[in-house]
Amino acid sequence: MNLLSFTFLASIFLLLAVQNLPFFSKRAKSQNALLLVVGYLLYAGTDIRGFLLLLVSTIAYYFLGIAIQKRVGAGEIRKAYPLTFLGVAFGVGLLLYFKYLGFFIQSLATLAESLGWTFDTPTLHILLPLGLSFYTFRLISYVIEIYRARTEAERNFVDFALYISFFPCIVSGPIDRPNAFLSQIKSARLFRYADFLTGCRMILWGMFLKICIADTLAPTTDAVWQSLSDTNGAALLLSALIYPVQMYSDFCGYSLLAIGIGRLLGLRITPNFRTPFFARNVAEYWRRWHMSLTSWITDYVFMPLNILFRDYARLGTALAVIINLIVIGMWHGANWTYALFGLYHGLLFIPLIYGGQFGKTRKLKPGKWELPKAGDALRMLATYLLVTVAFILFRAPDVSSAMAYFSGFFSESLFTSPQLPSFRLLYVALIMLLFIADWVYRNDECVLCFHGKGLMKYRAARWMVYYALLFAIYANCENLHGDFIYSQF
C-alpha cells in the first residue's frame, strides 16, 4: 500500500467520485462500508496473513468493547476492570510477540553469554504485520476510553472496523482516538469544495516534502552511515544537522498525505506535526512532533504513572516522564538505540520539571519584522541541537555505531572542511525553504493552506506555486528513495 504511487492517488479520486454517486452520497452506512471494503482489499493485497490478524483482532475488540460498556453502564467498575486489562494485555502482547520477542531472546542470550553461560537461541522469523504498531494503539485506546466512560462502545461493526483500519492511516498513522473518528462517520460526507481544496493542498505539500526534500537528502545521510570510519568530523556534524530535517520531511510528508486523503473523503484526521523545529524546549518539541503518538502515550502511560508516583512530587513526575519517553523510543522498534533515544530525551526533561517550565505553554510571539525574538531564536536553535544528538541514536543501526559516530564527531577533524558525499548547495536552499514556509504558515493547517497572506492573496501567485511544486515533484520522482521511514515501525 504505497500512498505515493500514481495508481493509489488516482484510485483515491475514483473513490471520492464513487462516494458522491447518488446511491452513496446521502447514506453514511454505505459510504463507511465502501471505505472499509476498499481498505480491506488494499490491506489484504499487501499482507494477507496480517489481514487475518487484523480481522480477528477487530472482531475480538468489537465484542470486548460491548462487554466493557455493559459493566461500566451498570456501574460495575470492578467487573469492567479485568476485561479492560485483557484488552490492553492482548494489544501489548501482540506488539511484544511480533516486534520484540526475537530482540528479547537475543538480548537474554547476550547477557547469559557475558555471564559465561551458553545456550542455543532459536532463530525466529516473525514478520511484522502491516501497520500493527498503529492499529493496536487504536484497539487499546478504544477499550480504555470505554472503561474511563469517555466514549461508548460502537455497536455498528462496520463503523468500528473502519475506525481501526481506515486505510490512509493504517500503515503509519496518525493514530486517531475513537471519539474524534467515530463521531464523524455517523453522518454522510457531502462533497465540499473547501475540503477538497485543503485535501489537495495537503497532498501536494506532503509529496513535495517527501520526494523533493526527504528523498533528496537521504542519499547523503545514508552514505555517511555506510562509511562512518572514512567520514571526517565536520561531515558527520553536517550530516547529523541535516537528518532531523530529512526525518521531519519524510514523516510529516506522509502524515500530510494521509490527512489530505482523509480530508478529500470528508474526514478530519488528527494532526501529527506542528512546526516542531520552532519549539523552545524539549517539552514543547514533543508537543509538536508526532503529536498523535505523544498524546496517546501521555494519556495512557504518563498520566497513570504520574498519578501512581504522585506522592514523590517532582521526582515522581521525572520518573514518569523518563519511562514515558523510553516507551516512545522503544515503540519505534526492538533496538537498544531507541531505548537510549528515549532515555536521553527523558533526561532532558529533568531541568524543565525542576525549573517549572514543564507543562507550561508560552505563546510564540514574533518580534521585529515578524521574525522570532532573539531569545526565542536561541532557544529554538538549542532545542534543535539537542534533538539532533538524539537523532544520531535514532538513526544508528546499533549502539556501537552510534558510539563510533560520536567519537568520529568529537575528533580533530571536526574543525576541517566537511567532506560530505554528494552534498549540494541545493540542500541548504531546500532546508531554508522548509523553515521559511513553516514559519510563515505556522498557524495554518498546512503550508499551502494560504489565508490571503502577501502575494498569496492573488490566485495567479498561488497557482504559480502549485505548478512549481508539481514540476519539482515530477522532476524528482525518479529519485524516490523508497518507502516512508515510519512504515517500518
Binding site: 469517555r150 504518563f302 504522585r310 507543562g359
Partner: protein, 79 residues
C-alpha cells in the same frame, strides 16, 4: 461536610498550588479556564486535595473528572 465548605477548601488549595489569588472555582470550571492548570499541576492539586481531606482517589476517578463539579462530587462521596 457541606458542598460549599469543599469549594472553599478547593479555592484555597488551587490558589496556593497555582499561585493565583483570583481563582474562584465553580462547578463547571475546567482546566481550560485556568491558565496554569495543566497535566502536571493537576497531579499536584490532586495530591494536595488528598492530603487536606485525608482521602485517596483511584486513577480512574482522577482521569474521569471533566470539571470541578465532578471532582467535588467524588470528594463529597468520601468525606
Amino acid at each position: 461536610m457541606q458542598e460549599q465548605e469543599i469549594y472553599s477548601a478547593l479555592n484555597e488549595i488551587f490558589r496556593d498550588v497555582l499561585d493565583e489569588e483570583s481563582i474562584t472555582l465553580l462547578p463547571d470550571t475546567t482546566a481550560d479556564d485556568i491558565e496554569d492548570w495543566n497535566s502536571l499541576s493537576h497531579i499536584q492539586l490532586v495530591s494536595e486535595i488528598e492530603k487536606h481531606f485525608n482521602i485517596r482517589f483511584s486513577s480512574r476517578e482522577i482521569m474521569m473528572w471533566r470539571n470541578v463539579g465532578e471532582m467535588v462530587q467524588t470528594i463529597l462521596s468520601r468525606v
